[in-house]
């Protein structure tokens, strides 16, 4: 059928089964928006900033497991989207972002709103395209969706010059991709898998090291089964919270810079690391030479470049966790003796009793950790929790009882302040029947605060719980510990009126200074059906502990919560 380039984009989005698109129009993408106006197959949600559009698509993708789609115009529309692309790229989130570009004839002339989008985004997309000819547009759209979703997922940018969206050509949406240069390996090498199984049988102190890849590949069930039949203890990275389930006795907790004592000690003393979809990030490993010093390493990852990037690996396995772990279970099922690891489990249990993850609650001032626990008690497994970046993010990761994958959504790799609220909007669109709560700070929330309007307009009752310490808290914590309390530009004493701010945009606001007020506000917000700010005055100088100072060995943790 003959149609315009703009119509082709619409048809491709529909053919890919996409039902929600987030975006923001402008000159170079207007032809496409004109076609969006004319169709009823998918809903377009207008955010109030392009960064938020990409984060919302990203939150939608993480909550649903489907690809997220965002649309922006050329020049500033695109550059605003870059942080969103980089955030999704670092956390391997499948996105297709369509950007308008100046007409082909103007490319390279410094035209109005021209910027080299593929040049700028090359390092923060899985792949990107500048469409040179309408004849290649159907193929490129097909490939973009395929590349975004397959292998190690990631964002793909398609930059489309305006004249191509206006041009008419024959459209047949390809049913398959033909990409001889791109063939992800899902199966895993059988010999390596067998050897890895033998290593597990021989180990005395094996440890499951679970990363975000378990969530991305929907491999939770099979991973839980491996833990179950072997009774091997497990630690989760920030990105894997929810995989094992909060009450699982085999889960030691989260490891890394703000991991709990037992998890970090487990990693320091294990003799066999079984890494599933984790990438040995420096916030996880601390000082590399001390990391898992006594262990052999089994590393399962869909991306070969992740394997042996930072640590030496004894059993490298490139493949999909589902397939690889299923095969591992096949080798282990009949032979594994869970009693073998009893001593190891007992050691870790003692570590946990020695230094449990805890905080000193108070009657005078609300402790941020209490707020997280309280939300957990109220909505627990029912809610989707997003967060921004800072202390609140770490407390959420430490203290919320995550029970399932895709329940916890945060910018772990890039650490993007301003991610939480738009991501929550995307998650709410994906999960209309769930409570979506963004745990945020008084710094981060202002970085995409305009999205109050998007949420109100679309009746998306996202609840933002602002753990308000009147500080850029995480930076303040480093200043306390490592900069002699010189609080350079981290004091946020000058504050907006949060309640009025939310109300001005059609939402609800609550200022909270006591536990009782918090309970009442949360109840009202859960009932209220409106986008909400709950501004909670928390202990200003509370620190996130334990803490492994950057570059230190994982077993050297600052542990004590001193009374302030």
């Amino acid at each position: 059928m003959k149609m315009s380039g703009a119509q082709m984009i619409i048809e491709a989005i529909i053919a890919e089964g996409v039902t929600k698109v987030f975006g923001y129009p402008g000159g170079a993408i207007m032809n496409v928006y004109d076609e969006i106006y004319k169709q009823n197959d998918f809903e377009h949600i207008l955010t109030r900033h392009e960064q938020a559009a990409v984060h919302a698509a990203d939150g939608y993708a993480r909550a649903s497991g489907d690809v997220g789609v965002a649309m922006v115009t050329s020049g500033p529309g695109f550059t605003n989207a870059v942080t969103g692309l980089a955030t999704a790229y670092t956390d391997s989130v499948p996105l297709v972002v369509i950007s308008g570009q100046v007409p082909l004839s103007l490319i390279g002339t410094d035209g109005f709103q021209e910027v080299d989008a593929v040049g700028i985004s090359r390092a923060c997309t899985k792949h990107n395209y500048l469409v040179h000819d309408i004849a290649e547009l159907p193929r490129i759209l097909k490939e973009a969706f395929y590349i975004a979703r397959s292998g190690r997922p990631g964002p793909v940018l398609v930059d489309v010059p305006k004249d191509i969206t206006g041009e008419i050509a024959e459209f047949v949406y390809p049913s398959d991709v033909h990409l001889p240069t791109y063939k992800p390996n899902y199966k895993g090498n059988d010999r390596q898998i067998k050897k890895a199984a033998e290593a597990i049988l021989k180990a005395k102190k094996p440890l499951l090291y679970l990363g975000g890849g378990v969530v991305l590949s929907n491999a939770t069930d099979v991973v839980r089964r491996l833990a179950e039949i072997s009774q091997m203890p497990a630690v989760e990275t920030l990105m894997a919270r929810g995989v094992m389930g909060a009450d699982n006795p085999l889960l030691m907790g989260m490891l890394g810079m703000h991991g709990n004592y037992a998890s970090n000690m487990a990693m320091s003393e294990t003799d066999l690391v079984i890494s599933l979809g984790a990438r040995f990030d420096d916030r996880v490993t601390g000082k590399l030479s001390e990391f898992a010093k006594y262990a052999d390493v089994i590393h399962v990852d869909i991306d070969p470049a992740n394997i042996a990037k930072l640590v030496d690996v004894d059993y490298p396995i490139v493949g999909d966790i589902n397939i690889v772990v299923e095969k591992l279970i096949g080798h282990l099922e009949e032979r594994i003796k869970p009693e073998r690891y009893q001593v190891w489990r007992d050691i870790l249990k003692r570590y946990d009793e020695l230094h449990p993850l805890t905080y000193h609650d108070s009657d005078e001032v609300i402790k941020p950790q209490w707020v997280i626990e309280r939300i957990g008690e109220k909505v627990g497994a029912d809610a989707v929790i997003t967060s921004d970046v800072g202390q609140h993010q770490m407390w959420a990761a430490q203290f919320y009882p995550f029970d399932r994958p895709r329940q916890w959504i945060n910018s772990g790799g890039l650490g993007t302040m301003g991610y939480g609220f738009p991501a929550a909007i995307g998650a709410q669109v994906a999960c209309p029947d769930k409570h979506v709560i963004n745990i945020t700070g008084d710094g981060s929330i202002l970085m995409n605060v305009q999205e109050l309007v998007t949420a109100s307009e679309n009746k998306l009752p996202v609840i933002n719980v602002i753990l308000n310490n009147h500080f850029l808290g995480m930076v303040r914590q480093w200043q306390t510990f490592f900069y002699d309390k010189r609080y350079a530009e981290t004091d946020l004493s000058y504050q907006p009126n949060w309640k009025l701010l939310a109300e001005a945009c059609g939402g609800a606001g609550y200022d909270v200074t006591t536990k009782a007020e918090f309970d009442a506000a949360l109840d009202a917000a859960l009932e209220g059906g409106k986008v909400t700010f709950i501004n909670v005055a928390v202990d200003r100088l509370e620190n996130v502990l334990p803490m492994v100072p950057a570059g230190g060995a994982l077993y050297n943790m600052l542990l004590e919560h001193k009374e302030s």
Binding site: R122, N128, L130, T181, P304, A305
Partner: protein, 156 residues
């Protein structure tokens, strides 16, 4: 870890941006490029790149993996067993001893390739180490300009 020199051959789709993707990868990840050559492979839609780089074993391994990860990359060959050749053009003043220059070039698979009013251009094509020797040897004849092609290589 010890730093080694490596020649990496990359076969990529001959499409827009592909050179930028490869060079951007090296720049962005802080890898070193000593030479990089690229040309289309006849009768295909592919190009062949030869990259000479240095790094420790872990870096070299990352380079090959990251190159492979680029969507338009078909093949990455990283070998210590490669046949390597490099070409060099050298411009000399016409007053120099042309017969000596001719003889020198002949020893390095080359010769005089162009003669002008007040200069000659000579070329040599040989293994990269030998090209280095050749360039040192030319110093005696006061070269005006030296242009090296970078290394091309083929797996044995």
């Amino acid at each position: 870890m010890e730093t080694v020199r490596r020649v990496i051959s990359v076969v990529v789709l001959n499409e827009a941006q592909v050179l930028a993707r490869v060079s951007g990868l090296f720049a962005g990840r802080g890898y070193n490029i000593e030479t990089l050559t690229v040309a289309p492979i006849p009768e295909t839609d592919l190009s062949h790149m030869t990259i000479v780089t240095r790094g420790n074993q872990r870096v070299i391994e990352q380079i090959t993996k990251q190159l492979h990860k680029l969507i338009p990359t078909l093949k990455v060959i990283e070998h210590s067993e490669m046949v390597e050749k490099e070409m060099v053009l050298v411009k000399f003043p016409i007053e120099e001893k042309l017969s000596d220059i001719q003889a020198l070039c002949a020893a390095y698979n080359g010769g005089i390739v162009n003669v002008g009013e007040n200069m000659v251009i000579a070329m040599a094509a040989d293994e990269p180490v030998r090209i280095k020797h050749f360039i040192t040897a030319t110093k005696r004849y006061n070269p005006i300009e030296i242009v090296r092609s970078g290394v091309v290589a083929m797996e044995r």
